[in-house]
Symmetry: C2
Subunit: 399 residues, 2 copies
């Protein structure tokens, strides 16, 4: 709880949340503190060429593949104090606890903090883990730009966390990520632990609607090519499409900007993002093409142009059945209630799953809220998650 | 044409337009050049406490009230090279021409450049003229802030154009403002000159929609309070209301911002402007209350809060019949075709009309376009407008 409180002071906002975008000064400050904590826990610290930070505790078998635990420390522009952070800090707590135990584990245990999981500054998200897993080319990652046209590469170098490629973790036995649910299910159903069986597939798009800027007074309604009027109809339609599909499908327009953005100007250009998710990839692909088709139709009706850029696509992921069973059993032994569930949010585990057996532990989110300052998880709930993580690490690392 | 070209170099953008927001460095640069031109034309230069700049040519009767001509030199963030500017520069041309004529006029003639007509940086618009006419309190104007929280007062002082109150023009016989139409009528009907009989009434509002920021993945559509989804429906509805009213009514949402504005966040807060116009004040007031009522209903349905701020309201204006007749007659003598029309755009003439007999000359806008970089008026059309302005000044000033 003390580490959560200290982390909650770096990039803190007015309503209890955090703004600690990837590779900013705040991210650096948090990383520096994290590295200090790792060293205090006698862990061997290194960071790789994507800026992923590792802390390693050796096992009795020097050649055995490691148990990897961790998550990310970056946040949304108005994020909470738990998303990602809880996974890193409960992993740290697990390692501190292991240090105090008399029995030596056979396998090494590594804690990891992945770079830019949120994708809020540099798109797409899950970048550090995706780089490690070979999902994204290194040159692609390094050339990604933020809204001020700064590149990932420049910024990683600037904050002093560009390590060498040979520091990438090599040989993961299992990866376990603890995370807040970020949705309402566990709280609603009064369940202690979510056993995550997989992660939804996702599409990220950017649509640019091009109309004609004009004067808000003398331009008759019938002669306008109002990019925002058209975009508003598209946004309504996009949400209609997923609502008609089923209760699981989601579509979100989270980012939008307009030009010239002046009170007495008919908007000439509107750019907005579209995030589409579903655990069934066929359904998601169908929604994706429905969205494209219907916004194009609206563009024709509204007499504007539209250009759509595909930012990111990822199929749904399915975690290790063995780990799922092992986690369920350990939770039972601890007396915790569990529920198997699919994650609607992307996580570093999504891409590490491509490298090694992977699974996730969810703890409840108060009111299901996340990606907002109100994000909260109770101390007692965190303790259960961390206890389960400790048990699984002990089980997997052997002794 | 040379002055238009030189003005077109201050704050110039990539597509031929200008960004010369009120009281910025670009505005100062343009003002400095304008003052230089005034001095070269032997005019007595002064500026008042609102930063309105005057150049005065004395008449033979030192106690006679002046003929005032002019407009504004500030622009939209992506504005054209004619809006306002043409009125100031054609007035300068009139004064240069008068200097070359053998006959002295009886009345003094003053040229004016009003401060912040656009309202694009500091709201409301027509601020310098409104201050002069007593429509806005001086303290209100000086405390108006831009988006970076800089005040009008600070910025006026900073660019060195805060003059003294005693420099305000006192005793205007008539004010004539030449302006581009900013709409499509004159061009469509192939008419040389618009004789403006009045200006529409307007409302400016700002709506803030308060939902709940949340994660774009695990938050089911049914549990969201998506401020942008709600705002999109409101925008569609607002435009529906005016379109159903009649062909004259307009409503524009020109400015919009969202929080947190992140691709994987459900928008928690959206703020947008609403501009409503009609020449019949009863109809405009009806539209205003319809808009308020229907966006409130949408807020209830969409489960979000809404707060509406009234930024500005101005009734429709009616210009001097005497001047309208005089202008029509002079245009006839020059062989120019004319059309009487209501202006859909606000102008400095709107408020100066409260102080003295006022009227306006419109010249055609290519394609009706304005408040965009494509704004354009042909040289031959400008010449006709300037010739008519010269004739009227001569007529009114007597000699
Ligand atoms: N866990 C989380 O918030 N990840 C960000 C990527 C996403 O949008 O799902
Ligand atoms: N003429 C002009 O563009 N004025 C700006 C104020 C308005 O929005 O009408």
């Amino acid at each position: 709880m003390e580490t959560i409180q200290m982390s909650g002071q770096i990039g803190s906002l007015d309503k209890g949340g955090l703004c600690r975008l990837a590779l900013t000064d705040e991210d650096k400050q948090m990383r520096d503190l994290f590295v200090k904590w790792l060293k205090e826990a006698d862990l061997a610290v290194r960071f790789d060429d994507f800026g992923n930070i590792y802390g390693r505790k050796e096992g009795t078998n020097p050649t055995a593949a490691a148990i990897l635990i961790g998550s990310h420390l970056d946040t949304q522009p108005e994020g909470g104090r738990y998303d990602g952070i809880l996974g890193v800090l409960s992993s740290l707590e697990v390692l501190r606890t292991l240090n105090e135990q008399p029995i030596d584990l056979e396998r090494p245990v590594e804690i990891v903090c992945f770079t830019n999981e949120e994708g809020a500054r540099f798109e797409p998200p899950i970048m550090g883990a995706g780089g490690l897993a070979g999902v994204f080319e290194k040159s692609f990652i390094f050339n990604c730009t933020d809204k001020d046209n700064k590149t990932f590469g420049e910024e990683l170098e600037r904050i002093g966390y560009k390590g060498s490629q040979k520091n990438r973790i090599d040989g993961i036995f299992s990866f376990i990520e603890l995370h807040i649910e970020q949705g309402p299910v566990l709280e609603c159903e009064n369940v202690d632990i979510g056993i995550v069986t997989g992660i939804q597939g996702m599409n990220w798009l950017e649509a640019k609607v091009i109309g004609q800027a004009d004067h808000a007074g003398p331009t008759p309604m019938s002669m306008r090519k109002d990019a925002l009027a058209a975009a508003s109809k598209m946004i309504t339609e996009i949400q209609q499409i997923v609502t008609e599909q089923d209760t699981e499908a989601t579509a979100t327009v989270g980012r939008l900007s307009l030009v010239p953005n002046s009170i007495n100007c008919v908007p000439g250009e509107v750019t907005f993002s579209i995030d589409i998710r579903h655990s069934d990839d066929r359904i998601r692909k169908h929604l994706h093409s429905e969205v494209l088709q219907r916004i194009s139709t609206i563009a024709v009706i509204e007499n504007v142009q539209i250009e759509v850029k595909e930012i990111w696509e990822t199929d749904s992921s399915h975690f290790s059945q063995e780990l799922i069973d092992c986690m369920t059993e350990q939770a039972r032994l601890l007396g915790y209630s569990t529920k198997k569930m699919i994650s609607g949010a992307g996580h570093d585990a999504k891409y590490i799953n491509k490298l090694a057996n992977t699974a996730m532990i969810f703890v409840p989110s108060a009111g299901g809220k996340s990606h907002c300052q109100e994000e909260f998880t109770e101390e007692a709930a965190i303790e259960k998650g961390a206890n389960l993580l400790l048990r699984i690490v002990q089980k997997l690392a052997g002794g």
